[in-house]
């Protein structure tokens, strides 16, 4: 599994190139765009049909949003309650302030088990803290068990979606990866055959590796239970067969009560994969004698989340239940795919989550990776107003940039400062208009259009034409008309 190590650089927000630059890779790869578009069209179609059949969808959304908001407003209370109930049921709860601490806690637990191998249920949170790479460096092989994650791990690829992470890879590419890495020369590219190959590849691992790592879809404060939503049964294998189970969960995953699942489970699968319900959802509470792992740990990960809480407008980011409906609906994601976002969280939710998790130090191009069309807000099952947060973050990026000395000479900022000056006084403005008309003559072509502007304006005219300035402004025309009337 050595190939799995060390390759998350393109999804590491501290290293990834800015969005417009990263997006070019996909825009220039027609096969990748075709794969992404196909997958998204299928999910979108199924989702639309199943959401339409749910006549109380908007009421469910309102409740889901209210429950998540309430849980975040009272997060300290519910986390402590979860910790107490989980511990009482035989689980062990650990707190990790950042990625580094979470990795060390997990490594300690694995060392106590003398584990050299570990099986994993798909968890975006472990990808966020780059756990596999870390474990590999410590001599522990982490085997992904979700089909898409196996494809990525064996193919040395990066996830490009949070629900179907390998949607950018088509069947013949999967066939090539499996044939090469599993030594199956005669494998066909029929998804049925590919799936069967994955089943055989993992069966012995499920039966023999005694330690597993999972994420969590929900933590239930009232009971100390954890819920995992999946399709294939690899999750159930990891949750049932090993001796030791380690669950890594973001602190925001908590729901107050068991019955809150009646809302979340009606929305999650419909929003995520366009199914009425995903094949398997598992819920467990600490340790159950005679059933499943007898050694159970939960690692609660902060890693920037608590800092998002302080602004009520930005706090809604943490309501997310990771259904990916926003990226499926996003016209930008549809064109660029997931890798351009430079984070394991792509799409509109990634565009607001990643910069905030990075304390606005990295990924500052992401809040601009949106046309603000609002499709993401419309499909979000917990009503995260993503455009509102995007605008908030854009304002913060601008505020930060303004403070940098180098910005003083930036043509755009210079231009805006001059504009500020011009608009402040009417006489300056009118003088500037007259001057502008003279200047515009240079760039206006015979057809009356401006096709290219110098300097920063050039970026704008790259994709647009601008009508040349008229010989007279409305003000001038009005004033002249008044004189004529007299």
């Amino acid at each position: 599994m050595s190939q799995a190590a060390g390759h998350h650089a393109i999804l590491d927000p501290t290293l990834a190139p800015p969005f417009p630059q990263a997006a070019l890779n996909v825009l220039r790869n027609p096969q990748l765009r075709k794969n992404v578009t196909h997958a998204i069209d299928v999910i979108q179609g199924k989702r639309a049909r199943l959401v339409a059949e749910k006549t109380d969808w908007q009421e469910l959304r309102s409740t889901a949003s209210a429950i998540r908001t309430h849980a975040l407003e009272n997060l300290g209370f519910y986390l402590e309650q979860f910790e107490a109930r989980c511990t009482a049921a035989g689980g062990h709860v650990h707190w990790a302030a950042d990625a580094d601490e979470a990795r060390r806690i997990i490594l300690d637990l694995l060392r106590q088990e003398n584990a050299s191998e570990v099986i994993k249920i798909k968890t975006m949170t472990s990808a966020e803290i780059q756990l596999n790479t870390f474990l590999e460096a410590q001599g522990i092989s982490a085997f992904e068990t979700d089909l898409a994650e196996i494809i990525l791990q064996l193919g040395d690829e990066e996830p490009s979606h949070i629900v179907v992470p390998a949607l950018h890879i088509n069947r013949s590419q999967v066939r090539e990866i499996f044939a090469r890495r599993m030594g199956l020369k005669n494998l066909s590219d029929d998804p049925q055959a590919l799936t069967a190959a994955a089943r055989r590849y993992l069966r012995q691992k499920f039966l023999t590796i005694p330690t597993a790592i999972s994420g969590a879809n929900f933590l239930i404060a009232e009971t100390g239970s954890v819920a995992v939503v999946e399709s294939e049964g690899n999750g159930r294998m990891c949750l049932t067969l090993p001796r030791t189970m380690i669950t890594l969960a973001g602190i925001e995953k908590v729901l107050p009560r068991f019955e809150d699942l009646e809302v979340m489970l009606q929305m999650l699968a419909r929003s995520a994969t366009g199914e009425r319900m995903n094949p398997y959802t598992s819920l467990w509470t600490g340790v159950t004698p005679g059933d499943g792992p007898q050694n159970f740990h939960v690692v609660l990960l902060d890693n920037g989340r608590s800092s998002i809480l302080s602004s009520p407008k930005q706090r809604q980011t943490l309501k997310c239940i990771r259904c990916a409906a926003c990226m499926n609906a996003c016209p930008v994601y549809r064109q660029t795919g997931g890798h351009a976002y430079g984070s394991v969280y792509p799409g509109p939710i990634g565009a607001i989550l990643t910069p905030q998790l990075m304390h606005m130090q990295h990924a500052q191009s992401l809040p601009y990776a949106s046309s603000l069309c609002g499709a993401c807000y419309e499909v979000c099952p917990v009503k995260i107003n993503i455009p509102e947060v995007l605008l908030e973050l854009r304002a913060q990026v601008t505020d930060q940039e303004r403070k940098q000395a180098v910005r003083f000479f930036d043509p755009m900022y210079l231009g805006l400062r001059i504009a500020n000056l011009l608009f402040a006084r009417a006489w300056i403005f009118h003088a500037a208009q007259r001057l502008g008309r003279i200047g515009a003559r240079v760039v206006t072509r015979k057809d009356g259009w401006i096709h290219s502007l110098p300097s920063v304006g050039g970026k704008w005219t790259q994709t647009r034409d601008l009508r040349g300035l008229p010989s007279q402004t409305f003000h001038e025309w009005w004033a002249a008309r008044g004189k004529e009337a007299k």
Binding site: H38, A39, I43, D56, E59, T63, I67, E73, N74, L75, G76, F77, L79, A89, W95, A97, E101, I105, D108, Q112, D146, L147, I151, V164, A166, L167, N170, R171, P191, R199, L202, F206, L207, T223, S231, E232, G233, N234, R236, M237, T240, L241, F258, E259, E262, L265, E275, R276, M277, P279, Y280, T281, S282, L283, T288, G292, S306, S307, L309, R315
Partner: protein
């Protein structure tokens, strides 16, 4: 964990909770504000008992589950017919499975602490269920004695689940109403295991049972609200 690591742990716990408390309201009133959350979605379905069962059957079949119906008297024979049609020989049964569900003529292993290998070797498993939700075609297992440990309905490739019509609710919230106390273990099963990870093509059967069979027993005289 070593002593320094433990003190590090308690500091991180306090640090995280302090940051959360500084960013949010004090949580003394969490319970009362929870009670005021809007819940205007549909709680109870409107279908009668027959329509409810028919909806469940339709939804299960959409997931590629095999469904047949039986009368209470005809159940043992229906089970025997399903087992025979499966072409399989060896079955595991949860410790609390009714004796007359274990059709004669097959190899039965009753789970009184079977090893993982013994369960893995079985061709199939027969269980009861706690409840089923028609709207989403979901079977809910609470892993009682008649439903079996979680591993029992996971490793065998073939699962036959016996449901009584009175256990069928129309909508998910009605299942939660039936949980007088939150259960410690739940598995919500909606069809055989499946994936759509390759080009969004739904493939039946990955790691969980590839074949899900359901027998719905028409115990219509029992009131629909009486679950167990």
């Amino acid at each position: 964990m070593s002593a320094p690591a433990q003190s590090q742990q308690s500091t991180s716990r306090e640090r995280i909770l302090d940051r959360i408390r500084a960013a949010t309201q004090p949580s003394t009133a969490a319970a009362s504000s929870y009670a005021t959350l809007p819940r205007n979605y549909i709680h109870k379905g409107a279908l009668n008992a027959d329509a409810r069962v028919n909806l469940l059957i339709e939804r299960l079949r959409e997931y590629d589950a095999e469904v047949i119906e039986a009368t209470p008297e005809g159940l043992p024979a229906a089970i025997a017919a399903q087992l025979a049609a499966s072409g399989k020989r060896s079955f595991v049964a949860p410790a609390g499975l009714p004796a007359d569900w274990m059709a004669p003529g097959f190899d039965w292993k009753i789970d009184r602490g079977l090893t993982t290998a013994e369960i893995e070797q079985a061709d199939g498993v027969v269980t009861a269920a706690f409840c089923a939700v028609a709207d989403s075609g979901t079977i809910v297992l609470h892993h009682s004695l008649a439903e079996g440990r979680r591993v029992l309905t996971l490793l065998p490739d073939w699962h036959l689940c016996i449901l009584r019509a009175s256990q069928v609710v129309e909508r998910l919230p009605e299942y939660f109403d039936r949980c007088l106390q939150p259960p410690a273990l739940v598995t919500w099963v909606s069809g055989p295991s499946a994936t759509a990870d390759i080009e969004m093509t739904r493939i039946k059967g990955v790691h969980g049972p590839r074949f899900l069979h359901v027998i719905v027993v028409h115990d219509q005289d029992a009131p629909a609200t009486n679950s167990n």
